[in-house]
Amino acid sequence: MNYRMLRIAVWAVIAALTLFLVFTYANTRFGDKAGAVQLGAPFTLQDQDGAPITEAAFNGHPTVLFFGFTHCPEVCPTTLFEMAGWLKDLGDEGKDLRVFFISVDPERDTPEVMKGYTAAFTDRITGITGKPEEMEKLLKSWKIYAKKVPTENGDYTMDHTASVMLLDRNARLKSTIDYKESPDVALKKLRLLIAG
């Protein structure tokens, strides 16, 4: 009898452990659906006015991050135009949102360059750039892929993650908006973010 009880107890523990592991895995892997995911790491960089900016800027407000570069011929301007459109559509509803355009090419994207660039889309987007090593820390902590690809004449372009990241008020990743996602879906996700 004791042996049988022990066996049941062991199986119960195994079942509980399995459930726990599955839940933990699902939570990190499918954070979109199961809840928000904690990413990011401390950093000290510069905003487009040259003022210091840290990870604290992503706290306390629903936050939108987009990673790109000003020499980007297609995906960055397209996405930034779309972001400006979302902000316009949201109007007052979106006034609590903080929106950042983070450079994957800090060598060329100085604060001045970033400022002139973001201003072409809307005054609601703030550029972030800084020392390449410090930028890399930020990109890595948000699992952003960025790679320099040489072109002719010593020039280069960047391959990079093109998703827009939506962070809740506690700077946890809540969901993403993919490149070419429909405006309706994008607005729905943003409204959920603001409400959450």
Binding site: V75, N153, M158, D159, H160, A162
Partner: protein, 176 residues
């Protein structure tokens, strides 16, 4: 939407022009009769057997050093051709590039062997796919301006095209 109607009109015009050229002058499709309307920038430019239409670029954003070039190139002949690149007084170099999405990662590559213009088909150089890149532009591209580009093809040789500068977020007709 802005480009939609002109492009459709140009394609129709291009088709009818090449059709009437065939009808009126069956034997002679040489380069000699090609440049007739080259000074009217919104007309299709014809060279050899290729029909180029709807060439546009976008107003550049502050600080931007590159601009994309977009157009349709039809090849009614029986032989494939290749767009190798080009040159322009407005840019240091003109290259053929292709943008691709690999999952969520945007990749941009130069097509060093050029872009195939299939026999009996049309190559669309459009935002989000294969396109021309004006590298190191000499000055910002302004909406309403025209950018002259000499394209270079493996078979058709050099062809002059005027690219109309549209708004900074101009898209091709596919996206509407």
């Amino acid at each position: 939407m802005r480009f939609n109607i002109p492009i459709v009109a140009l394609v129709l015009l291009a088709t009818s022009v090449s059709f009437s050229a065939h009808a009126h002058d069956h034997s002679k499709m040489s380069k000699g009769n090609a440049g007739a309307m080259s000074d009217d920038t919104m007309q299709p430019v014809k060279e050899g057997e290729l029909v180029l239409s709807g060439a546009f670029t976008r107003a550049t954003l502050p600080g931007a050093k590159v601009g994309g070039g977009y157009l349709s190139i039809s090849n009614p002949s029986k032989e494939d051709d290749r767009l190798l690149g080009g040159s322009s007084p407005a840019a240091a170099r003109v290259e053929v590039h292709e943008m691709k999405m690999d999952g969520n990662v945007m990749q941009m590559r130069q097509l060093k062997d050029g872009l195939k213009i299939p026999a009996g088909g049309t190559a669309e150089l459009a935002p989000g796919g294969a396109h021309l890149m004006l590298m190191d532009i000499t000055k910002p591209l302004k909406q309403g301006d025209m950018v002259p580009v000499t394209l270079e093809f493996a078979k058709a040789g050099k062809v002059d095209v005027q690219f109309m500068v549209g708004p900074a977020n101009a898209t091709s007709m596919e996206h509407h």
